[in-house]
Symmetry: D2
Subunit: 139 residues, 4 copies
């Protein structure tokens, strides 16, 4: 499990004054990319090995709106196959009184060959990252 | 059921050269907004009645990437409650050889009071729209 | 000179209810890309020749806000060098009472080698496009 | 003068693998908003006084592309009138060998009444901010 603080930018808001609904997915990616990059897993690094982590599915629940505020995004690994893994993202606005998340998303990523687009086994950097998360989850 | 053609813009692409994953949700909204506006249902119209249609949940499947191309987005109503309704969106790139959609998303919208944010019954313009869709679906 | 109609999307608005300021540049690009693609000039086509049209400079004036409305974008070629050309963009909301544009931008594009990033002469497809515009402007 | 570090996000890139050209303007705004918010100047705070800081003009030069990297954005006040002020933004990628900026933009902001959209004198919070910058510039 990992929590990363992300600033909601003015550009993330919509005409209703809250975060525009596709941008919650962007907030999740900003946090997930920071988490993965701490383990050396980056778009350009993977690309140099002709691999990409593509989004396979998203299940998102919009529970309460998020306004122009910093948010804590809690992430944990839900499950893992040879070619994919799922991450649960929960968004907690810093200034919110609510202890419940305002947004949750289960996002499944799949490894794919960058050139052909075909799915492939997760790179070793990613399986090492997932193993470490599993250990931390158990302990 | 309704099909609306949407142009994928250069700005919708990511560094991998395909549509950036949150932007599939934007493509769906562009199509859905055009559909709803044909029935006079718009953000500003609803707002003048102190109502908004907020996103409640999204279940999205990324089946094949979408590139810089126009797409047909097929939409149909999945179900309806007093305060909410769900729309199935299926994205078919114009130039694709595949007959299967490249992306599908079930998106649930809920009516909410604009000022308070609390859920409320669907406005009559929306229930009229949904009734008409149901009739067309049956016939 | 060319006029292209572009739909302002809900996603283009900011929390003030008007088009978010960097998005006026996006509206211009949507129109310019449609114009250029009529002459077969596209990002992917240029890339297959290892060329890109990169933005070199922008001078933009925000005269009146643009709201959620379709707009006409008038474009004309301002000048041209061996490696670059400039386009004047003027945005006129469809529903506006004003005869003056709400936004103008002079945008200079430069040809660059895609792999090295170095500037290079404009591709022949682009010089042919510019010649035709010049003829139309004179006649 | 102020320097603020901003993370370039994956979402900021275009299909060429560099920052999408309108997004340089977004990077500038992210930095400028952080700077202004240190002085209590925020969109929502101004809005509660029925004021907004609107963009009046942008002069931007794209000198070298910015890739997926953190950047330092140097900002300084260029000039000031009763109703407006201009900020020079210079973007320096953290990992760049170049001592010259990769992007510069002179952006002029004007105070406007939020309800009517008419220009108005700069709020006292903003003039106080500008005075302090002037003092620091002199000393």
């Amino acid at each position: 499990m990992k929590t990363i603080k992300i600033d909601v930018e003015f550009e993330d808001l919509d005409a209703g004054g809250v975060v525009y609904h596709p941008n919650y997915i962007k907030l999740c990616e900003r946090a997930r990319n920071r988490w993965l990059s701490e383990f050396g897993i980056t778009f350009s690094g993977l690309k140099s090995d002709d691999v990409a982590l593509a989004i396979r599915s998203i299940k998102a629940d919009y529970l309460r709106p998020v306004v122009h505020d910093a948010v804590n995004i809690k992430m944990s690994i839900l499950n893992q196959t040879e070619k994919s893994f799922s991450v649960l993202h929960q968004i907690y606005p810093i200034s919110s009184q609510n202890k419940a998340p305002h947004f949750t998303a289960e996002i499944t990523l799949v490894a794919a060959n960058f050139s052909t687009g075909k799915s492939c086994p997760l790179p070793i950097t990613v399986t090492a990252f997932l193993s470490q998360q599993q250990k931390e989850g158990v302990s």
